[in-house]
Every structure is written in structure tokens, then in C-alpha cells.
């Protein structure tokens, strides 16, 4: 294939996440071309929606994806359990897997922070919604000043938390706090998630608390945060600070410390999922972004070989 032709991609999973991602792929004219949406339920609404948009569909799940020889990149929007079965098959078939489930077969990625380092991987995992929202800002601080502790609190609308999130709430806490450390650059991370059942539903909101390890150059830190907000906004338009970052003196296990507090709101693009579900939008938007960067990388590689 020549450099410049679209990379054919497939979505595995015809639920809400798969559908939202499908609409993002249809809306944005990038380097990817959606060649197949595969589910496992012939009667599913998601497959019907895809057909009505003229997208080829199948209810043979992973088997249909493996048979689609020209598909180079696969978004897995099924479940953690299913992805652990899909991952080795996709690898054997030479297809790149972008995993939206909590399976964590491949390395965890947050596009503006560490995706560049993982473009040679055959499988990458999109860390939790809360991680996608908060890790970029912790990283934006840790690249300016060492961070001894970072804590994030995500509050999401009840209606945007599916059964997977609910039954695996501990994994969210665990995975996200590790991500604040390994990807965000904090020496220690902590994550809290809260469900809010208010009607009308609230937008996803996140609060980030950071304890810097050294004297703080506020301007340098806040500039770095502002640059990162702009970078995330490039693929999640509804990502915005509720106010400029503030600092506060707090009693901590390390004595009285200056704490940076960032209040963040994420409104969804409403491609398929409702706008309040910013927590789901940031996942599909990060998946789209990840797909685009992989597609560019794959074409540059083939282009260089040609």
C-alpha cells in the first residue's frame, strides 16, 4: 500500500462505546477508514446503526475481524474478559489492537503524554476515563517541578457508568492511581471515583490535587498546564478548566505543604453518547486520537520502506 492511502480500521463491539467511536470516525476525515463494525448479536441496535450509515457489519465478532485481511487496526470496545481472548488472535493476524477495555494487555497510554513511545507496540490500552482526564495535567506539572503526590477525584453521572465500571470500581481506583505515578510522573498517586445520580445529569468533573516536591514557580507550572489543556482540547473539545489553578496550604503526612488544585470539567461531543457523558467521550476521543497517530506511523513506516 502507498503512503497516503487511508488505513482500514475495524471496531469490535457494537455497544454504546463502539457506536460513539463509529460516529467519530464518520465525522472526522482523517487517516482512517472504517471498514467493518463487528458485534456478536445479529439483532443489536449498534449493528443496525452501522448498516444505516453504510458501514459493513458482521455478528461473527472477532472471527469476522480476523477474516478482514485489509484491516490493519482494530478498536476493541467489548469487555476486559473478551479482550484477553481477542488480543493474541489479533497479534497473530498482524493487526494493531487499540484496547478500550480495562484488560490492560498492552501498555497504558494517554495520547498527549506517552503514546509516542508506544507506536511500535501491537497492542495498547487506553487507561481509565479518569486517567485520560487527569494524567495529562499531572504530567504537565511534573515536567516542570517534581511531584511527590498527586490525587484525582472523578465525579461522573450515574447514567454514564455502565455495569463494567460498577462491578470493577476497585480496578478503576487501582489502575488510575498507578497511572498517575507511571505516566503522570507522581511519586505517589491516589484516585477516588464518585457517582452522582442528579437529574438532569451532571457533566464529568475531575479535581486534581498535586503536592510539588520543591519551591513552586507558579507561572511556569500554570503555563505548562494551560499548554496541556490546549493539547487535550485538540481531540476532546469539551475539556476545560472550571477556573485557573489555585494553590492552598494543607496539612499533609509530609508537613504543611503548598497544594495545587485544578478543577476540570469534561463535556462530551454528543457524537452518539449524550453530552453529560464526558467520561465516555474522552475514551472514544482518545481512541480516535490514538488510531490517527498509529495510522500516520504505519503509513510513514510503509512509505519509508517503499
Amino acid at each position: 500500500m502507498k503512503a497516503g492511502t487511508a488505513v482500514k480500521v475495524a471496531i469490535l463491539g457494537s455497544g454504546n462505546i463502539g457506536s460513539d467511536l463509529m460516529y467519530k470516525l464518520l465525522k472526522h476525515k482523517g487517516r482512517m477508514q472504517l471498514a467493518l463494525l463487528a458485534g456478536i448479536d445479529a439483532g443489536s441496535e449498534g449493528l443496525a446503526r452501522a448498516r444505516s450509515e453504510g458501514i459493513p457489519t458482521s455478528h461473527d465478532g472477532i472471527e469476522a475481524i480476523l477474516e478482514a485481511r485489509d484491516v490493519e487496526l482494530v478498536f476493541d470496545a467489548t469487555s476486559a474478559r473478551a479482550h484477553t481472548l481477542h488480543a493474541p488472535k489479533l497479534r497473530a493476524a498482524g493487526k494493531i489492537a487499540i484496547d478500550l477495555t480495562p484488560a490492560a494487555v498492552g501498555p497504558a497510554v494517554v495520547p498527549p503524554v506517552n503514546l509516542g513511545a508506544h507506536l511500535e507496540e501491537a497492542n495498547v490500552n487506553l487507561i481509565t476515563c479518569g486517567g485520560q482526564a487527569t494524567i495529562p495535567l499531572v504530567y504537565a506539572i511534573s515536567r516542570v517541578v517534581p511531584v511527590m503526590y498527586a490525587e484525582m477525584v472523578s465525579t461522573i453521572a450515574s447514567g454514564s457508568a455502565g455495569p463494567g465500571t460498577r462491578q470493577n470500581i476497585d480496578e478503576f481506583t487501582f489502575t488510575t492511581s498507578r497511572g498517575l505515578e507511571a505516566i503522570g510522573g507522581a511519586q505517589k498517586g491516589k484516585a477516588i471515583i464518585i457517582l452522582n445520580p442528579a437529574s438532569p445529569p451532571i457533566l464529568m468533573r475531575n479535581t486534581i490535587y498535586v503536592v510539588p516536591d520543591k519551591e513552586l514557580d507558579e507561572k511556569a507550572v500554570f503555563d505548562s498546564v494551560a499548554r496541556m489543556v490546549a493539547e487535550v482540547q485538540a481531540y476532546v473539545p469539551g475539556y476545560r478548566l472550571k477556573s485557573p489553578p489555585v494553590t492552598d496550604k494543607r496539612q499533609t503526612p509530609w508537613g504543611m505543604k503548598t497544594v495545587i488544585v485544578i478543577l476540570l470539567e469534561v463535556e462530551g461531543a454528543g457524537d452518539y453518547l449524550p453530552p453529560f457523558a464526558g467520561n465516555l467521550d474522552i475514551m472514544t476521543a482518545a481512541a480516535y486520537r490514538t488510531g490517527e497517530l498509529f495510522a500516520r506511523h504505519v503509513r510513514e513506516r510503509t512509505g519509508a520502506r517503499a
Binding site: N168, D170, L195, V259
Partner: protein, 339 residues
């Protein structure tokens, strides 16, 4: 009415009033006094449950697992319990708490989100713990919704589902109809009631809950707890005794425990004062009180206005970060008017 089981949570809900600074020495003294007075269950943990030590809620002065260990060592008959909020604490901390001595876990969810507790009840039962479930902010939903959520907790292995008036916003009839709905809906599990005294109804609502059939009730010495505090354990003991349903509590020993053991440790006596009444009136989470006072002072905003706005925004249990959000919004609004 029958004699209820009384759970004392001075060392958990009371932790909020001490900004989570209980020491090993204080825990030993309080547990010894409660145990000697016949209190059957004593809850010990960070105010926001296991792993609540954080910037969001305040860091613990002494690690809660050390406090749990101290409590277990001091208790001769009483069971030691801990609170766990899924989303804050996890099964990992539950395991550690069991290793350090808890015999009961109380798993707390928002009153509409019981299904996040399935794994925690499952593990607790596997580990042989007694279990209770907290439906927090229960004033926000009608009895039939709470009953559905209670049935979920029962199906996961919860031994007693609590109607939790986290905001101290209920009137006696609100407490009674919620407890009655749970009594009717549950086949095996008992029903509990946890009061806050923001509207001065801590003991009154507990009595209404008992009349409606509540099996377990919560108290704290001197009512020490979030907001205007809880139903006072020693007060409940005296009242239950006069009602002829004393579950085996030594009234005078509890009066002494409250007066001579706990009171000297208290930074202040929680009462339904201006801001605390506002919490009950606006229906917001009782633990917001001290955070709202502090941030109100920092940003030159009346804590009462912050609390009322938090109620208008329908904030739920654990959303302490919203207090800063509201304080900033109100101070910006005030700034604009000045210009």
C-alpha cells in the same frame, strides 16, 4: 418496639470533627470505656472510610489500620467494624483491615448506587465478616427507590441495610417511612438507621426509626460527628432504658465515658448552629461543614451561602471538591458586583 443493636461510631463519624487526628492512646481509652459499658459494635476508621486519608477529605494523623489494631486489642467483648466507600477504599484495604482486626465491615454507597458494592460484600462474606450496608444521603430518594437498592445489597450478602441520613435532613416521618419500606422489602437482612443532628432531630429520628421497626441504630459519644454530629450514644442509652428496650447498655458508664473520657478530647461540641442547620435545611453532606467554614474564610464568602449552593447543585456524599468550586464561583460573583 424491641431492643435494637447499638453501633458506636465515635471513632469513625467522630473522626470528622477531629479532622481525622485520633491517636492510638485516645482510641484505646474510648474503646475500653465503650466496651465496659456493653456497647456491642465499635466502628473505627477514617471518617470517609478505609483509605479516606487524602487531600479531598483530610489526611489521617495516625494510620487508621494502627487505630483498628489498637481498638481490637482494647475490646474484650465488642466487635470492631470499619466503614468502606467503594470508589474511595478497595478490597485491598478491606483485606488489610481484616488482618489488623475488624470483624465487621459497613459498605457505604450513594443511596441510588448500591450495585457498586457487590464485590465488597462478596469478599467480606468470603472472609467471614459480619456486614452492613449504608444507603447514604437517603433523604434524596423516596422509600420505594431505597427499598429496591436495599434489596440489591441484601442479595450481595449484606446482613443489615441502613437508611443513612447523611445530611441530617430528615424529619421523623421521613425516617419512619424509609425504615418501614426497607423492613417490608427485605426478607433476611435487618434494617438500620444512622442519624445526624443538623435539625436537632438525631435522637427523635432514631426513635421514629425504632417505632418503624429498625433493628440497628448508630450513636456517637457526645454526638461527636460530622455536621451537628450524630445521635449521642449515652443519650440513646438513657432513652432506650426508659422505654424498656435497653439492649444491655450501662447508662451510667456511658455517661461517664462521654463526660470524662471523650469530652476532654473534643476540639468543640458539635451543635445545630447556623451553618449546621443550613446543612440539614439544604440537604447537603454533613462533612462539608468544616471544609466550607475554612474555604469560606479563605475566599471571603459566607459558609452558609456555600452550603446552600451545594444543596442547589445536588452534590452527593464525598464531593468535598465541590466546596472549593462553589467558593470560587461565589467569590467571583461577589467580585463582579463590587466592580
Amino acid at each position: 418496639m424491641k431492643a435494637p443493636r447499638l453501633v458506636d461510631t465515635t471513632l469513625r463519624d467522630g473522626s470528622h470533627a477531629l479532622r481525622h487526628q485520633f491517636t492510638r492512646d485516645q482510641v484505646r481509652k474510648i474503646v475500653t470505656a465503650l466496651d465496659a459499658a456493653g456497647v456491642p459494635v465499635i466502628e473505627v476508621s477514617h471518617g470517609d472510610g478505609l483509605s479516606g486519608s487524602s487531600l479531598q477529605y483530610g489526611f489521617s494523623g495516625t494510620p487508621e489500620l494502627d487505630l483498628i489494631e489498637e481498638a481490637r486489642g482494647a475490646a474484650r467483648k465488642a466487635k470492631i467494624a470499619a466503614l468502606l466507600l467503594p470508589g474511595v477504599g478497595t478490597r485491598a484495604e478491606l483485606k488489610e483491615a481484616v488482618a489488623r482486626g475488624i470483624q465487621m465491615v459497613r459498605v457505604a454507597t450513594q443511596c441510588t448506587e448500591a450495585d457498586v458494592s457487590e464485590q465488597h460484600f462478596g469478599m467480606a462474606k468470603e472472609m467471614g465478616l459480619e456486614t452492613a450496608g449504608f444507603l447514604m444521603m437517603a433523604h434524596m430518594r423516596p422509600p420505594e427507590i431505597l427499598a429496591e437498592q436495599a434489596r440489591l445489597m441484601e442479595s450481595y450478602g449484606c446482613d443489615c441495610v441502613y437508611v443513612v441520613d447523611s445530611a441530617g435532613a430528615m424529619l421523623p416521618a421521613d425516617a419512619a417511612e424509609r425504615v418501614a419500606a426497607l423492613k417490608k422489602a427485605l426478607s433476611k437482612a435487618a434494617v438500620g438507621f444512622h442519624a445526624h443532628n443538623n435539625l436537632g432531630l438525631g435522637v427523635g429520628n432514631t426513635l421514629a426509626a425504632l417505632e418503624a421497626g429498625a433493628d440497628w441504630v448508630d450513636g456517637t459519644l457526645r454526638g461527636l460527628g460530622a455536621g451537628a454530629g450524630n445521635a449521642a450514644t449515652e443519650l440513646l442509652a438513657a432513652v432506650l432504658d426508659k422505654l424498656g428496650i435497653n439492649p444491655g447498655l450501662d447508662v451510667f458508664r456511658l455517661l461517664d465515658a462521654a463526660e470524662f473520657v471523650l469530652a476532654p478530647m473534643m476540639p468543640f461540641q458539635p451543635i445545630p448552629d447556623r451553618d449546621a442547620i443550613a446543612i440539614g435545611y439544604a440537604g447537603v453532606y454533613s462533612t462539608f461543614l468544616l471544609h466550607a467554614k475554612r474555604l469560606g474564610e479563605k475566599y471571603g464568602v459566607d459558609a452558609l451561602d456555600i452550603l446552600v449552593e451545594l444543596g442547589r447543585r445536588k452534590t452527593m456524599a464525598g464531593q468535598e471538591d465541590m466546596i472549593l468550586d462553589v467558593a470560587l464561583d461565589l467569590s467571583r460573583k461577589a467580585g463582579k458586583q463590587v466592580q
